[in-house]
């Protein structure tokens, strides 16, 4: 049920996924990458019974949850690392309705257990997409693929190796609501790119959760767009979300670490002639 020999398109992680393979690599590589993404979807989805929903049911009932599923454990581990790396800006436990956040969670890495002091449900959201792309990238590399592009929606992208014609993969990122206005041009090689925005068609999707500032206990409402280029897609998702949530000072700290690789745009100011990069 795939497309042509070197492209595979399917729905997973609540969005459309495209896998483009170029050059060498086993014929079964794309199928293996798809299985990797679907396995992450099966583990992390909150829209049907899954290890993630079982964990959430336990946390909502005030019980400790054993993280027996390897993918769920790795995702929780990435969420914890992301929370630490962003000074708490990235938070899969943030929920405006209940006022909960990751500070109420106890994650015992060694024992592979998680508990919370209040009823809590984790929503991996974008992290799940990045995590899935990383697993798929690993599957492609293992199958000998040296050049590939993977997307989960148009906001989560990973590339393997160089562009099939050599050199870097060139991308341009448009204004979320003005497609003719370019916010940024970036080039990638063996990297991942994540784009987060508070406006645009993507934010109007049904069941789309607001991006929440857990410390302020409020949704981020200013029109803004954040872009992060990182060594892997999980980190890219974490950082683009954190950049969108961050205040000026916190954003400056995150941007300082990766000049030219992380960006935040105030879309009140961004037009064709005036681009602002915080």
């Amino acid at each position: 049920m795939a497309g042509s020999a070197d492209i595979m398109r399917f729905a997973a992680m609540g969005t459309r996924v495209e896998l483009h393979r170029f050059g060498d690599g086993a014929d079964a590589a794309l199928a293996a990458a798809r299985r990797a993404i679907e396995a992450v979807d099966d583990a992390l989805t909150i829209h049907r019974p899954s290890p993630a929903t079982a964990m959430n049911e336990a946390l909502l009932a005030g019980r400790t949850a054993a993280l027996e599923d390897e993918l769920l454990f790795r995702a929780v581990e990435a969420a914890a690392d992301g929370h630490a790396a962003t000074e708490g800006l990235f938070d899969v436990a943030a929920d405006l309705r209940t006022g909960t956040d990751w500070s109420m969670v106890t994650f015992d890495h060694a024992a592979r257990r998680i508990a919370a002091e209040r009823p809590i449900a984790l929503d991996f959201g974008g992290l799940g997409k990045g995590f899935a792309l990383d697993r798929a990238s690993a599957a492609l590399r293992e199958a000998g693929v040296g050049s590939a592009l993977l997307t989960a929606g148009e906001s989560s992208i990973a590339v393997i190796g160089e562009h099939p014609l050599g050199g870097l993969w060139p991308f341009s990122i448009p204004h979320p609501e003005q497609p003719d206005v370019e916010l940024l041009a970036v080039e990638l090689c063996d990297q991942a790119l994540s784009i987060s925005a508070t406006i645009g068609a993507g934010t109007r999707a049904p069941e789309r959760a607001a991006i929440v500032h857990s410390r302020l206990g409020a949704a981020v409402t200013l029109p803004a767009c954040a872009v992060s280029v990182e060594p892997n897609a999980t980190l890219a998702e974490i950082m683009s979300t954190a950049l969108l949530v961050a205040d000026q000072q916190a954003a400056a700290r995150l941007l300082r670490d990766r000049v030219g690789r992380r960006f935040r745009f105030d879309l009140r100011l961004a037009t064709e002639h005036s681009r602002k990069c915080a």
Binding site: M1, F10, H20, E154, L165, W169, P174, E182, G202
Partner: protein
Amino acid sequence: MSDQAFDLTRRSFLDRVLMATAGAGVAAAAPWAVSAANAASAAPMMPATGDRVRLGVIGTGDRGRALIRNIAKSRNCTVAAICDNFAPHLAKGREIVGASVPAFADHRAMLDARGIDALVIATPLNQHARHATDGFDAGLHVWCEKAMARTISDCGAMITKSRAANKVLQIGHQRMFHPTYLNALKRVKAGEIGEITQVRASWHRNNSWRRPVPAGTDDRHINWRLYRESSAGLMTELATHQLQVGNWFLDAVPTRVIGSGSICFWKDGREVYDHVALIYEYSGGRKFIYTSLLNNARYGCEEQIQGSKGTIEPELGRIYAEVPPKVLALQRMHQDVARGSKRTVPIGGATWFPELPVTTPGESLGWGEYDETMLQFEGFGEAVRSGKPLPGLLAQAYRASVASLLGEQAMDRGEAMTWPTSLVEV
């Protein structure tokens, strides 16, 4: 068609059935088809006439004559007698079977004459139970057209009677033997369309469903499908097939049904609805949504088996993956690479799209050139010979008939009807 060509076609049909039922989980979900196809494959190419199961056909109207033609294609059954109380129909039946086959105007006379091993019933619905009972009482096995009977209690009584007589009762549901449906089941069991949460089915026609009444008979005899005494109309004559498919692919029976029926277009004195719309609920929130009407044929006859990863439309013989639309920028990138050109890829636009109907062509499920009704009769012939019914078939048929009649009750009463708890165990 020559005998050799016929054998090749038949062989290919059986091979397709066996290939489909070899899939993981399919044999357990369609044991009747495995049993029938295995028996048919093992049968001699041309058994002697005396070795065939002798069938007496009651009812030689359109459907009865179609069955006679299909019985003729089977290798282990033969029509040994026919019967119809309407002379023009009986005459048409005789044209097919020839003058050497005894013909009767009264089914009791056919039973009394002996010379048959089993009864094939293709009479109006309200006569099925009586004819089946008479057949069992005469020591015969019974093959009966769907739906089983006019009432739920009569459906159960037919089963009880067959058990008491220790005779086979088989109901005609040809989709259960169709390679396309079996292939569809195979692909469902392989997980290709994900978890099935809904089956949407329709049987839409644009004709009155009314037949001209020849001299010497009356409207209620010829147009029995239009009168409540003899039929539940669209529910028993059409929906039964699709309810069987729904139960089969959802692997359950409904928990309850709600529905609305009306005589909306053909206000010609008929008593049965010409428009029906029903929702059958299954465990876990799953649904079978059904409509049938007689004044618009645009959407015809179809079952849309809908899962989280795809859709199967067996009447069209197609399977469709839930493939999202292409990212145009990436499509262009691919074309650029093929041309040796490298351009910047604009990305990061909308990730959500208007949810218009998908018009992708899908993939073929594979068609059978052969009439699956033949396999029904070969399976029935084997069941008669062995005295053992094809496994699982009667349960499917019974539940489909009950579902169709329960739907009629829901529409008549204007209230939800729960699945009966007093059904016969089968």
